[in-house]
Structures are given as C-alpha cells and as structure tokens.
C-alpha cells in the first residue's frame, strides 16, 4: 500500500500541516533519531532547514523541490478509503466539517503511483527541514521567531493562492479555521475576527464586511490571507527542545548568531548612520521595535515614524528598508507612501506633535518626555544634551 499518497505533494509543499507530524512520526522514532542520522539525505534536509532560517535575513536562498501532482482524490472515483472514515465525511466530495483529521483515509489510500518513493523522500526532506527551522528559531529572541513566522507565512500564502478550493478547505481545517466554500469563500465570524483583528486595514473590520448567517463573505485572496494569519500563529509557537537536541544544534546556532550580529549592525548602521537611536523618544523607539518584530503597526504610527525619520534626515530608501519586516509589506505601495510623505508629491509632512500621537494611541510617554510637546524637539534636546552636533 502507498500510504498517504494523495497528501505527499502537499506535505512537501506545506510541511506545517498537522498531517506532516503524523506522517513523519511513522518514518522516524523521534526527533533525536532524525538529528543523529548521518546520511546524506538527513544532512541535506537539515541544511535546508538552516537555509530557511537564514533566508528570513536574505542570507540564503532555499530551493524547494516540488511534486507536480494535483490532489488526486478529486478525480478518484473508487473512494475505497471511505470505509476507514468513522465520521462519514467522504462522499462525492469531502465534508471537512465532519472530518476530525484522523487521516486514516489517506493512510489507507488504494491508489498507486510509480514515483511513490520519490514523493515520499521529497515530503520527508521538506518536513525535516521545516521542523529543524522551527527548532532553530525557537532558540532565539521573540523578534526572530516573529520575523520567521511573518516571512514564512507570507511565502506559503503565495503558494496557497494557486490551490484548488477543495484543498484550501483541507488547509483551513488543518489550521483550525471554520469555513465553508460554495459560490463564495466563507469564513465563520469568530475565525474571521481572530485573523482580522491583527490586520490594520479598514476594509478588514468586521463592520465593513458582508456577513451571512454567521459567515463573512470573502474572495479567494482574502480567504487565503485569513489562512496566513492562522498559519503565522502556528509558526510563532515555540518549539520546546531537550538538552541533547540543544547540544546538537549548537554549531547551527553559532552560524546564525553571526548572521544576526551582522544584521543587527546593518540595521543600526544603515538606518541610523547619521542619527542617534538612543535619542529617539519612547514613542518612536516603540514603533521601530514593533516594526522589527514584524508586528502589524497601525497606519498612523507608520506615518509618524516615517515623517519623524525624514525630518531628522533619513532618506526614502533607508525607511523602506525598515518596513520590510512588516507582515503586509508591499514594496511598491510602501515606496509610494514614503515618497508621498517625503514630499515628492508636493508637500513635505511634519512629524505629528505629542497631542496627535496621544489621540491615535501611539504615545508611550515616560519621565524623559517632561516638557516636550513634539517628538522632534525631544530628539533635538537629547542630541544637544549628549553634545552631538545636529547636521
């Protein structure tokens, strides 16, 4: 029997699926077995995992092997796997609302493919790489994990956009999103707001959507964006590891630490070449650190930090660089907006005053802010005190 055959192309593509865990645990005893195997296959898989981590700092370009095979269950007429389903979820179509993801149907699939072993290896490699990348990022600060989650979820979103509705329903089920697809893409209100409350754009507010008997009506692109938000949460979870695993990954961690150090230096150097980060008011420090963590920063805060940085002398390129880790980063849009604030469309915008910052809840006032009414004057005062000459 060729167990999990229909799923293999998807496990290779989406190793974060819960099914991946079930599949891989039947191949290996435990994590330490995978790590201790010295074979070329396992080594390569781990290297790929490391490369994925480095790729979030643009320091590696992972190559993902694809299995060009669609969801074979869609065209399968026999559905002999039906007898293994205790939830009666397999009929003409899959009824994912009934499914409890026991995977017995896939495990007992009666289809055959002569490339099965090749598929299996590709899936295994991708899953090992995925798990390893999660282990690695779990050893670092939260912001690294967040950046990893943001970048990887975004990458997967692009892949998901091309999937069939049937498979998207399976993905949704796996990610715990309550959905339904008929002529529209429907997401249950409660799942929807779990995702949308992390997205800042106005059009995502529940009050601005179409609702039908408990479900929010979406198009495919927005549906996939909801899946992305759920996936991000899954990728953010910390992987707990034991001491022997810790020991094993040490050399990998060292290597990544080096890259991180460079990244940090780059961040401080490029962005703050001529400016002193230490003199930033708490509000701006806060927005910057949120941006670095990949948190979704509200529009008003983005405007504030952009105008602030422009006012103290940074250029457009440096600022665009800063926004790169934001979850909804879109270079073209960002460039347009930053340039707009910078005045290429005629007006140069001033950084908002403290009162305005307060109104939009972007103010993080502390004792150092005493007597200051404007973020820029905070900065200037601090620079004068520290004896730094302003350009």
């Amino acid at each position: 029997m060729q167990s999990y055959l229909p799923l293999l192309p998807f496990l290779a593509k989406y190793p974060f699926l819960k099914a991946s865990g079930v599949f891989i645990s039947e191949e290996y005893r435990d994590l330490n077995e995978i790590l201790s195997l010295k074979g070329k296959f396992e080594r390569e898989s781990l290297e790929l995992g490391k490369c994925i981590v480095l790729s979030i700092f643009d320091r590696c370009n992972p190559e993902f092997e694809e299995i060009k095979r669609s969801f074979i269950c869609l065209t399968c007429e026999e559905k002999g796997c039906k007898v293994y389903c205790k939830k009666n979820a397999i009929n003409e179509k899959f009824d994912w609302n009934k499914c409890n993801l026991c995977l017995e149907c896939f495990k007992n699939c009666m289809q055959k493919d002569r490339k099965y072993v090749d598929y299996k290896n590709k899936a295994k490699k991708s899953i090992i790489a995925f798990i390893f990348s999660r282990i690695l990022v779990s050893s670092f600060d939260e912001w690294v994990r967040r950046r990893y989650a943001v970048r990887e979820a975004r990458r997967y979103r692009e892949l998901m956009k091309n999937e069939s509705d049937e498979f998207l329903l399976f993905l949704a089920k796996d990610l715990g999103v309550k959905t339904c697809i008929n002529e529209n893409y429907l997401v249950h209100i409660t799942s929807y707001i779990k995702a949308s409350s992390k997205i800042k754009a106005d059009e995502w507010r529940l009050v601005n959507r179409f609702i039908k008997k408990g479900y929010v009506v979406l198009d495919k692109e927005k549906f996939v964006r909801v899946l992305e938000e759920f996936l991000k949460d899954r990728l953010l979870e910390k992987f707990e590891i034991d001491s022997s695993t810790k020991k094993f990954i040490e050399p990998y961690i060292k290597e990544i630490e080096n890259v991180l150090a460079k990244e940090k230096a780059r961040f401080e150097k490029i962005e703050f070449d001529k400016v002193d980060f230490n003199c930033f008011p708490p509000c701006m420090k806060n927005i910057l650190s949120d941006l670095r963590k990949g948190l979704n920063v509200p529009h008003t805060a983005r405007f504030a930090i952009t105008s602030f940085l422009l006012n103290i002398g940074l250029n457009v390129e440096q600022i665009i660089d800063l926004f790169k880790s934001a979850p909804d980063f879109d270079e073209e849009k960002t460039r347009y907006q930053v340039e707009h604030i910078a005045g290429s469309k005629g007006t140069e915008y001033e950084c908002p005053a403290c009162d305005t910052m307060k109104t939009y809840q972007n103010c993080y006032e502390n004792e150092t802010c005493k007597g200051v009414k404007h973020p820029i004057s905070y900065y200037k005062r601090c620079m004068r005190k520290t004896g730094t000459k302003l350009k």
Binding site: K178, H188, I189, T190, S191, I193, K194, S196, S197, D202, E203, R205, L206, V207, N208, R209, F210, I211, K213, G214, Y215
Partner: protein, 370 residues
Amino acid sequence: MDELTRAFLIKKFGEYYKNEKLEMPVEFDKREWAFVLLENLPSFVMRRHISFGSFQDFQAFVTSKVPAHIYYSSAYYLKPEIEKMEDKGWIKADLIFDVDADHIPLKSKSYKAALNRAKKEIFKLYNVLITEFGIDEKKIKIFFSGSRGYHIHVYEEDFQLLSSGERREIVDYLTINTERILNGRGFYDSLRAQQVSKLLTKYLKYLIKKEKLIDMLKAYRIRDVERVYTILSSSENLKRIENGDLSFLPKYKGLRMLINDLTDKILNNLRIYIDAPVTADVKRLIRMPSSLHGKTGLKVVEIKIDELDSFNPFCNAVVFGDEKVKVRILKRASFEIMGEKYSVRAGEKLALPEYAAILLMCRGMALYGH
C-alpha cells in the same frame, strides 16, 4: 441606612435566598464569585476571588452572609479563587451584552420610556445575533438587570474563546463604528452599507408618497429643486440608490447634506446601543441571574424573547409579598409597582406593601419603622 432598616433587609433577602430556587450558571465551579454584603452597606465593599465547589457551599454562603449584590465572572478559570488575575488560568468567557438605559440617547427622562427603549435595543441585538451572527437561539439568554436595563448572555463556544481585542470587533460591528458607509460615489460594499442604502430608498419613497420630498429639498436650499426632484423620484434611479449607487446625482452641496443627514438618521436607528466595555471585557463580573438587585430588591429574571415586549419589571421581577410594612419616607418619590401608583413625600409615615417598602429602602428613600 440605619441599623433597623439594614436588619430588615437582611432578614428579607435572607429568606429569599433560603427559599428561592437559585439558577446557578453553567460550570459555576470554574467561575470567580463576588459579593457586596448588606451588612456593609451603604459602603460598597466587594468581596471577590471566591469560588464554590458545590451548590450547597454557595447556598450556605448566601444565606449566612446575605449579599445585596451577587456577581460571578463571565470567565471560566482553572483556579477562580486566586487573587492575581494573571494566575487564575483563563479558559474562556461568555459573550456578554449590557443594554442599559444610561447608555442610550433618550428624549424623555422617564423610567418607563428608558426601559422600553432598552427593550427595543435588545430586540435589535437579538435579531442580529440570530440572523447575522448565526448563533443558535438556545445559546442566547436574556435577563432583566434588576435595575435600568437588560443583559444578553451568549454561551456558544466559538464566541466564548474570543479575546478582548477580538470582541471589540463585535462591538464596532454592532455600534456601526466605521467611516466606511458612504462616499462621494455611493455606498460601500458591506452588509451595513447595503442595509442603509435600502432603508434610504424606502425612506425616499415614503417622502415622495407623502409629498414631503419637495419641501425637504427646499429646506436644504438645493438648486433646481424641480430637476433634482425628477431625478430622485424616477423608479429607475431609486433602484440605483437601493443598489448603493449615488454617482448619478447632481453634485450639489445641499443634496449631499440631505443624503448625509438621512444616512445618519438611519444609522442611528440601526446601531445598537450597548455598553462597549462590558462586551470587550473577558473577565467581567456580571450580576447573577435569579439574584436580587440590592438597589431595587427586584429579581434578575430571565425573559424569553416572546415575553420581552410585555415584560414589566415592576410586576414580573417583584418577589416580595404585600404584607404591610411601616416606613418613614426620606425623599419624595413617584412610582408604580404591582399595578398600583404611589406618590410619597419626605417625612410621611406610611404602611406600604412589603415590595414597595423594600424598593424604597433599597433606594435609600425610606427607613424601616415609624
């Protein structure tokens, strides 16, 4: 409140809690309980972080301590009795809505008008929960708050798991807290905006039928009133408005103002006036159904949706008897209870039915005895 009055209330509330079948909330052992005891009144001392493992324990507590107010947490905790909120181990929380007369813009100040308006809000809210949120009616309960409003509790698990920020989205939805209803070209593509465009069309048709539209256009000092009227009253154009399209209307400032004002009016009718912080809070203390409200002596009763319209708190939430009780009136008051009207003046010494006497004592408007 003097000693005698307090003692009387303790006796009466105590009897109630001994004899009445109290409705415990589901999974009451996972909830935090909080009490304000009658013996501490008039100061409002809350004893909280209390939990009960059994109904007997709970009953023993309320009959011996006799609370003026009983609350429990909307949240379910692993350890409800722990004092530090972070250590309680939050599991989930019922979704709670509070419609209080104090949060509704009212034209009249009368208690009756206020409660009727609150009822209207509850009908609107109940309807949205069923038809738009798709919540099973068995998972929704409506309660009279014991004072100036109504509460709705939702027990559906998907909603119970929502965080505070997520619940805020629901608040914004119900209160229509958005700028995206109408722009220069027409209505936005959302359920709310669509509802508004339909109601606007209905209203325009009504104005046309009643021959009021012309006057209204004049009142807004719109140029070419005749032409604008012709445009607005064509059935083809009304259909376009109904579909959210306003792009064909002449760009007159007055006309724009009229449309905006009508839209605002419709929005104010559509929006549901709930107390936002209550719904957004996932650790709220809420008044226990079937308990007594210490400021009225009325019972927090459950109301079925089809009983809501005829519900009268001063009949249906009254629990005390009509035995005469001697009281001294401290403040002038007019009220109606159990179908009878009362008008009392400060200084009067009266013998009132128990329920009326207790209402006045709870309100601090009368003292026990002559």
